[in-house]
């Protein structure tokens, strides 16, 4: 095709895009002569070139448009018919241009009817050909300002085809790749001589890259230009009144991306007109202005262009979304009912061409929001929705400024390398030491506990099914990368962060594009290929809900619910579950034997030069520990710190725990039932108090003291005997009173008997006497043990001769009570 014709077509298509928005503005502001002047200028430029290029049909139609515009300039009142006629004329011009662009030349056809309508719409005698030249000149002068001709204005710019820019971009990508290769070679050779020129090359490559990127940028107003007409046509078709406001048109975005988001944006606006904005009578009834407003606001922030499309309509119909989700088989009605607003706003993006098909033609020709999201994902962007019931909805699109070359972390997982674009990473947490964060392994899932809270986590090598390798050895440091996929934060655990490299993103081969965990591939400096990770896909692989995932059931993992509290659930020894509020835990420490210090019978760890006492709720000793790592929860109270040893962290839950039985002054706040299991809630403040008396819990006289345990349940027999045994006592556990009494009658002397309160209640009056009569020598002090303590139980057993009643789980109180009992002078005697 003739170069001149090519230029003309490109220029004309840009000008026609601008005319659309100018016409709608003109309809709203008919008195604004400047707008008429703009439109006239654009049409005139097209018409002027037609004669030169021998496009006769186009020239005729453009000439008719000029006639219409001349009348308007001369004061004719614009009306809907005039604007419609003008739009039809512009459409005809576009139709002819399209055929010419496709190489078919001017299409055959008659425009006489259109031209006749234009002539009928005003004074047919007026011939603009007589006045257009002076008129056009005066209009152009008015628009451009005197002393500047269009040619002069264009002199400082050249037209470059997108293909040429694309070619340059590819070359710059290649240059960056070669630079990376050279850096790798220089590093391998430890060549100092190469470093200075390489630095210079890096600077030049970066400048070239940013310069080229700037050349690819276009104001987003180009995208906005067609929206006015869309809203105008759609609202007229549906009988609605809608005003479109566009802000931030000067925001710049890559030309290629403009084309990619054109359809999604148009679809969202169609949705807003069709579903969001109410009919005028309904708006009046609701006390809203008759004319609904759709506001499109673009802005750029940190390499991301954000576009909000907000309407002041009715907002989302959650019940319809639930119903639609159910109809699509995404979950049961009960699951649907359990979804909160955030979940529902997310699900909207999964429903395909939505429930609003009934609204007719508009939706039959538009894709669903799922396609909107897919298109955005393809360019590394995302979409989200916020809803204000009755007041409107806002869809936010996040689009990267450019996609070609991005700085990325090169990560190692197992023996494989992957790339993760830097902009996705919110925080890097080192797991080498306990300073930053710690991974909690809970059955079936992993969580990262860091200063800012707890997020679900996943090992990249597991997600990638990497060949097995010793992941947890000390020589293989791990790093967690915190990122976000939609609303959900999560952490990715990798073995090593090798480097940060600028990578040129290449699309994946077609058969691999359905794998959700990767968005692209890239060639590294050493010539190898890496896969580029996609956070949304990773979140999905971790089982987290992501916008776009068709799941209804609330996701597993840690989910924020403001009304409940996060608890760390752990075991210290034996089967009993214990918990502490997460807020009480400053850090989770992994301690090797070398980190433990022993002073004055106390075990300490060092933190910032200070010795922090380490306690075990069971009173176990850590001296002579084997080489295994200990896990401890680091607690703080004012300036005091305390490490609480745990055997296993079971879970992190977000629950409302109701204390169902009271605790003790030795650290247990109370007991509760969590998912059918009894759980002890520890009180961090009481733990501090208890720590001060730890060494006093077991008196010297405990050594070897015999304790009888009368407990019918085998589980508690075992548990209590284990606690006593570890603390230097000699326990004997029996299941019934007769056996207990038989034991008393033998040679052995028991200083204390721990008696299940149910047994005590059953033998209310006689139990103290029985023990008294059966014992050889001094009868034992009786201490009651209850599953559920409290005043009621105490009242029931007040006649049983028990010195006190303790919770069976409250081993600390048990040890204190035993110590006190053994300290009694008469026992010692």
């Amino acid at each position: 095709m003739d170069e001149l014709l090519k230029d003309f077509l490109t220029e004309s298509s840009e000008q026609l895009g601008a005319i659309d928005s100018q016409l709608v503005r003109f309809e709203r502001e008919p008195s604004d002569a400047r707008i008429v002047a703009n439109i006239f200028r654009l049409v005139h430029v097209i018409k002027s070139a037609c004669g030169f290029l021998n496009l006769q049909r186009l020239e005729k139609v453009a000439h008719s448009a000029e006639i219409l515009l001349t009348r308007l300039r001369d004061g004719a009142s614009p009306n809907a018919e005039t604007v419609a006629l003008m739009l039809a004329t512009i459409d005809r011009i576009k139709f002819i241009l399209r055929a010419v662009a496709e190489g078919r030349g001017e299409p055959s056809g008659e425009d006489d009817q259109l031209i006749a309508e234009i002539e009928d719409a005003g004074d047919p005698r007026q011939d603009p050909s007589q006045s257009e030249v002076p008129h056009a000149a005066s209009v152009l002068e008015g628009v451009l300002g005197s002393g500047t001709t269009p040619t002069e204005r264009r002199a400082d710019s050249v037209r470059v085809t997108l293909d040429s820019l694309q070619r340059l971009t590819s070359l710059v990508s290649e240059l960056v790749l070669i630079r990376n290769q050279l850096v790798a070679v220089a590093d391998a050779a430890s060549s100092d001589g190469l470093r200075a020129p390489l630095r210079r090359l890096s600077t030049v490559a970066a400048d070239l890259q940013s310069g080229l990127q700037a050349a690819r940028m276009l104001p987003i107003a180009r995208l906005f230009a067609s929206l006015h007409r869309l809203v105008r046509g759609l609202s007229a078709e549906m009988g609605k009144k809608v005003e479109l406001t566009l802000r931030g048109g000067e925001t710049e975005i890559d030309r290629h991306l403009i084309e990619t988001i054109r359809d999604p944006l148009a679809h969202i606006i169609r949705n807003a007109v069709a579903h969001g904005v109410e009919f005028p009578e309904e708006r009046r009834r609701l006390g809203k202005p008759e004319v609904g407003v759709i506001d499109v606001f673009a802005r750029c922030d940190a390499g991301i262009v954000s576009i909000d499309v907000a309407d002041d309509g009715r907002g989302l119909d959650f019940s319809a979304i639930r119903e639609r989700s159910f109809a699509l088989g995404l979950g049961s009605r009960e699951e649907g009912a359990a979804l909160d607003e955030t979940d529902l706003c997310r699900i909207v993006f999964t429903l395909g061409s939505s429930a609003a098909r009934r609204l007719g033609g508009v939706f039959r020709r538009s894709p669903g929001l799922d396609i909107v999201r897919a298109k955005l994902k393809h360019i590394g962007g995302s979409a989200s929705l916020t809803n204000r019931p009755g007041l409107g909805a806002t869809i936010n699109l996040q689009i990267p400024l450019a996609t070609a070359i991005v700085p990325a972390f090169i990560l190692r997982a197992g023996d494989e390398r992957f790339a993760l674009p830097q902009r996705f990473v919110e925080e890097i947490v080192s797991l080498d030491t306990c300073d930053d964060g710690v991974l909690i392994d809970v059955p079936g899932r992993l969580a990262l506990v860091a200063a800012e809270g707890i997020v679900p986590a996943g090992h990249l090598h597991v997600l990638m099914g990497s060949p097995s390798r010793s992941q947890d050895s000390g020589a293989d440091p791990r790093i967690a990368l915190k990122m976000r996929a939609g609303l959900e934060g999560f952490a990715l655990v990798v073995n090593e962060m090798i480097e940060v490299q600028e990578i040129a993103l290449e699309p994946l081969p077609t058969p691999l594009r359905q794998i959700p965990t990767f968005s692209a591939a890239a060639v590294l400096g050493d010539g190898s290929v890496v896969l580029v990770l996609d956070p949304l896909g990773l979140a999905s692989a971790l089982g987290l809900p992501k916008s776009g995932t068709p799941r209804l059931a609330p996701a597993p993992g840690i989910k924020h619910r403001p009304s409940s509290t996060n608890f760390v659930v752990f075991r210290s020894d034996g089967p009993t579950l214990r918990t502490l509020p997460v807020t009480a835990v400053v850090r989770i420490l992994q301690l090797g034997p070398a980190q433990l210090e022993f002073a004055d019978g106390e075990c300490l760890i060092r933190d910032d030069g200070r010795g922090i006492p380490l306690i075990d709720i069971e009173g176990r000793s850590f001296a002579g520990q084997s080489a295994r790592l200990l896990t401890a929860l680091l607690l703080k109270r004012g300036d005091d710190s305390l490490g609480l040893i745990v055997d296993e962290i079971v879970d992190v839950v977000e629950e409302e725990l109701n204390i169902e039985f009271p605790g003790s002054p030795c650290g247990v706040l109370g007991g509760a039932v969590l998912r059918g299991e009894t759980i002890e809630i520890l009180d961090p403040l009481l733990l501090f108090d208890r720590q001060k008396n730890t060494r006093e819990l077991v008196s010297a006289k405990a050594e070897g003291a015999a304790v009888l345990v009368l407990e019918p349940a085998g589980f508690f027999q075992k548990m209590i005997a284990a606690v006593l045994g570890r603390n230097g006592y000699q326990p004997r556990a029996v299941g019934d009173l007769a056996t207990a009494l038989a034991g008393l009658g033998q040679e052995r002397r028991y200083a204390v008997a721990l008696v299940d309160v149910e047994v005590a209640i059953a033998h209310q009056e006689e139990i103290a006497r029985c023990f008294h009569d059966s014992a050889v020598g001094q009868p034992p002090i009786l201490i009651g043990l209850a599953s559920h303590g409290g005043p009621t139980v105490r009242a029931k057993v007040q006649n049983a001769g028990l010195s006190t009643v303790l919770g069976k789980f409250d081993r600390a109180s048990m040890l204190v009570a035993l110590r006190d009992a053994l300290s009694e002078p008469e026992i010692a005697a």
Partner: protein, 156 residues
């Protein structure tokens, strides 16, 4: 790329012969761009087993399919060091890793017949026809079928 327009037609032309699973196959030579030895391969997690990885071919990233694994999922996959043919399908280039690359052969249209579905032990989607070469029958590979490229591959 439009697979509609690039569909393999068995009309008699020049073919490149390839060996996999100790059998010789033919492929229309118009799709072949170069022959190379696989120097490096990046495994793609979650990819089908016959797609053995991604390789860097003169600065471009290409997907490498092992023909043997594609034909028989139980066959051991070829990897680094294997020979491969770079195959261009529309705008994309792939590589086909094979046991051996044979000669270029010519076949007349009358020697070629459509792949008989029942007589063919390989998946019909991968076969474009059969060349009768003397007493031998050479299955003709359909590169679109081998690389799972279809006109609707890119739904999103």
């Amino acid at each position: 790329m439009s697979a509609d327009t690039d569909q393999v037609s068995v009309r008699g032309d020049t073919y490149l012969t390839l060996r996999a699973l100790d059998q010789t196959f033919a492929m229309p030579i118009e799709f072949a761009r170069s022959v190379f030895k696989i120097e490096g391969l990046t495994r793609v997690p979650h990819a089908p087993s016959h797609l053995v990885g991604l390789s860097n071919l003169r600065g471009g990233i290409i997907g490498v399919v092992c023909l043997a694994s594609k034909l028989d999922p139980d066959a051991p996959a070829l990897g680094v060091g294997a020979l491969a043919v770079a195959i261009e399908l529309g705008t994309e280039t792939f590589a086909l890793a094979v046991q051996e690359i044979g000669e270029v052969m010519h076949a007349h249209a009358e020697d070629i017949s459509a792949a008989a579905k029942h007589a063919n032990r390989w998946q019909p989607a991968m076969m474009a026809g059969i060349i009768r070469s003397g007493a031998k029958l050479l299955p003709v590979l359909d590169p679109f079928g081998v690389f799972d490229i279809s006109p609707v591959a890119e739904a999103a």
